[in-house]
Amino acid sequence: MTNHNDFNLIASSLVELKDTSELMMDLAYSSLLLNSRELAEEVLRLEEYVDNLHTSFEMLALKSNFSKEEASGFLGLIRLGVAAEKIADAAADMAEVVLRGIEPHPVLKLAIKAAEETVAQACVTTNSPLLNSTVKDACIQERTGMTLLAIKRGEKCIRPKPELVIKEGDVLIVSGYVQGVSGLKQLASPDDNCIGE
């Protein structure tokens, strides 16, 4: 039988695989919407991370002493991991379009903007209540229903850690249902005077 500790490790690797692959999808769509190299590069960095994670997940699963009865269930686990990796690959394929310098066709932007689950950006301006608060205290999810995927600060793309402080000029990259977009923009730039929108 597989012991409890091994289970936890295997489980958390799979969670990480699933979450990262879905984050990559959102970021890839964002990179197309904004024609952003930084975001596309982040997707490819995550792709490499997922490849490594996937390998160590499979090793963990194979090395755990599962019983004969558990073999089928473990095969199912392995296949879930393979599927998550495939989704990550697909996200990388999309990001590649941006990195090849192909200006995304306007129809792509139209479709992404109209999708049920969309991605959007909002620039943080001087009078935003988010200014100087940490990602954790900003409670963007609670306030707008949108999930913060990344922050673009100048040329850099930062993954939001809870303790990261939000600064003026930060561009928030979010995903969620399209109904939340206007709330997010209102929160980040109340006067809608952000340059580069």
């Binding site: 489980a11 699933k18 979450d19 199912g76 393979v82 697909a90 192909i102 129809v107 139209l110």
Partner: protein, 203 residues
């Protein structure tokens, strides 16, 4: 051997094709994980059926691309990006079908996965609508759940069949089983409401 049909050209705007490819591929992923999590063979079969729809959309989109390029190299260079994105959504739907196949081929997923899904950020959950829930007789579209609660009803089980993507479809009834997706904090509140445990307050 699956049956392959000839796909005839239909003039559908590229934007609409792309939009449906994106929505459908993501819906399939969420449904497939649900099927794996709840070990539900019928739901898994439905995911596999959606795969056909994706293939058709992808064919139609590529035909549109070919017509749109009209022998113009510059246009071809920008349109290739659209084709690549469409291919990627197809790959995502393939992955969803792979997950569904774990269930339909009776491989099953180790129960560990239940514990896994308790922890993920964006969760899918299965919820029964109770008799005294304020959801009973409500029209799904009118609930406006995406805006109000950040969650989405992606499938409803009624009379032993699954209704996929039921938004425009009608009223909820007591006894309906819902598959919803959204952040886990919101799912908890929704569950309380569906089970009629909060004295009937809506969202």
């Amino acid at each position: 051997m699956p049956k392959f049909e000839r796909i005839k050209f239909k003039p559908i705007p590229v934007r609409d094709l792309l939009l449906e490819l994106k929505n459908l591929s993501e819906l399939m992923v969420d449904l497939a994980y649900s099927a794996a999590l709840f070990n539900d063979a019928e739901l898994a079969e439905d995911v596999l059926a959606l795969e056909n729809r994706i293939d058709t959309l992808e064919y139609l989109l590529e035909m549109e691309m070919m017509i749109a390029a009209q022998g113009n190299p510059k246009d071809a260079e920008t349109l290739i990006g659209v084709a690549k994105v469409a291919e990627a959504t197809d790959k995502i739907s393939d992955a969803a079908a792979d997950i569904a196949a774990i269930v339909t081929r009776k491989i099953g997923v180790h129960p560990i996965v239940g514990a896994v899904f308790e922890k993920v950020e964006k969760r899918v959950s299965k919820i029964l609508v109770q008799k005294n829930s304020p959801l009973v007789d409500m029209q799904i579209e009118m609930l406006d759940l995406q805006a109000k609660a950040g969650i989405d009803i992606i499938a409803v089980r009624r009379n032993k069949t699954w209704i996929i993507d039921p938004k425009k479809w009608g009223h909820l009834m007591a006894g309906d089983i819902l598959i919803i997706r959204g952040p886990s904090s919101r799912i908890k509140d929704f569950k309380v409401m569906a089970e009629g445990r909060n004295g009937g307050t809506l969202v």
